[in-house]
């Protein structure tokens, strides 16, 4: 077979960057669609947590409303850790992380591709858990404001979690390393998300909710920028 003509696309660096992000995200989603390993683990874990809370905390109607945001975010944080750990350890175990790092693209494209797929898994789990929670706890969670908080909180959690998962996967104790690294760093996200969710669920005033919303937005922007700058060093041997 003759050698191929050099067939690299002629495109701008930004287009190449976006194309690489899309390729990594597509690969993760397609592989997960087949295996359903990661998604199933996250979903089952999340459902078990809210069921356990339901039986452990025998609450009256008004108290249920007040604990809802805390229970929800604790559930999503624990389930999210499972997914984050698995998404990087799959690459490491198959040895395919080297395959990604060998590509002639900015390595932060790999990071953003992973962020998109991890965020997709987390949002799908949240979309399934919310109606189940509403049914079990008798609380209406289908509110646009709450959806916005879930999105911003999930982005903050995933941008930090994906970066730290890439660090933790290099360690032999990666399963315990990720939560130890992650939870102290995402405390601002969890506090802001819980407070803002609580504000929406209790029909609080905008003045009480907006500062927490701003904190979530600032956190998302800062940590996304930070990850963009340091991911290359994190995966370097």
């Amino acid at each position: 077979m003759p050698r191929a003509e050099k067939t690299f696309r002629k495109e701008s660096p930004v287009s190449a960057f976006l194309r690489a992000i899309g390729a990594v995200a597509w690969k993760d989603l397609a592989a997960e669609f087949r295996s359903r390993e990661l998604f199933t683990a996250m979903l089952v874990f999340a459902l078990l947590v809210i069921i356990i809370f339901n039986f452990a905390l025998e609450l009256d109607i008004s108290t249920r409303r007040s604990v809802t945001s805390g229970v929800l975010w604790a559930t999503f944080a624990f389930a999210g850790t499972l997914g984050l750990n698995r998404s990087m350890s799959i690459e490491k175990d198959q040895g395919s992380l080297d395959g990604l790092l060998l590509a002639p693209v900015d390595r932060s494209a790999i990071y953003f591709g992973k962020v998109i797929s991890n965020l997709a898994f987390m949002l799908i789990v949240e979309a399934i858990v919310l109606p189940v929670y509403s049914f079990l706890y008798g609380v209406n969670l289908l509110q646009p404001g709450l959806m916005l908080i879930l999105l911003l909180g999930s982005i903050g959690y995933i941008v930090v979690g994906t970066l730290l998962a890439a660090m933790a996967v290099q360690s032999r104790t990666r399963d315990v390393m990720l939560p130890i690294l992650l939870f102290p760093v995402v405390i601002p996200v969890l506090i802001a998300a819980v407070k803002a969710s609580e504000g929406f669920l209790s029909g609080g005033e905008a003045a009480a909710i907006v500062p927490w919303l701003n904190l979530l937005i600032v956190y998302d922007v800062i940590f996304t920028s930070l990850a963009f700058m340091v991911f290359d060093y994190v995966v370097e041997e």
Partner: protein, 232 residues
Amino acid sequence: MIQVRKLVKRFGTKTVLNGLDLDVREGEFVALLGPNGAGKTTFLRILASLSQPSLGEVRVAGHRLPHQAAAVRARLGVVSHTPLLYGDLTAQENLRFYGRLYGLSDLTKRIDEVLALIGLTARRGDLVRTFSRGMQQRLAIGRAVLHDPDVMLFDEPHTGLDQDASAMLDRVLKSVAAQGRTVVMTSHDLARAETLATRYDVLSRGVIVASTTRQQLRNSNLLAFYKRSLAD
């Protein structure tokens, strides 16, 4: 095509490469031989830009490492003993993924060519986790040549393969090398290395201790040369 000068690589207090010098000309097929722990894999990882040198100068295809790593990676294909593939994707999907990552145009045509080269056209739609080790290794070569690299690095590609799979892999390796690419391959299989390569370098304790070519070996054999090199 590859120039390495006084390359040193340290992991903490342990020095794995200790002032290694090497030149590989365009189109050469170099077998890098040596005992376990000699530094072969570390050296290939530095050439592949997966690891940074502690000291020294490395140039691949005219580009300096680690500063011009992306330019090097665009002209480099790497095959190791792990195939760097995704078991839950089909052979075609794996190649398509890497093709998109490398920014290749006319990808469908190129995938068809590569699958034909490695003899996996009939299995293109099957999940890679259903492949034998030999088929996975052939697909790994397909992944590595997809972007038509000028330099190829093989890190013990025959590890874990049976005789038939190794023979099939040899045919693919010869085909890849015959296309004028520069190849560096590490191996413990001297007989196989002797057949495939045109030059043989022995690496021991982090430096090249001996080097010979197929022509110079005419009245000897690689095993004798290898033993003599390590004994000196």
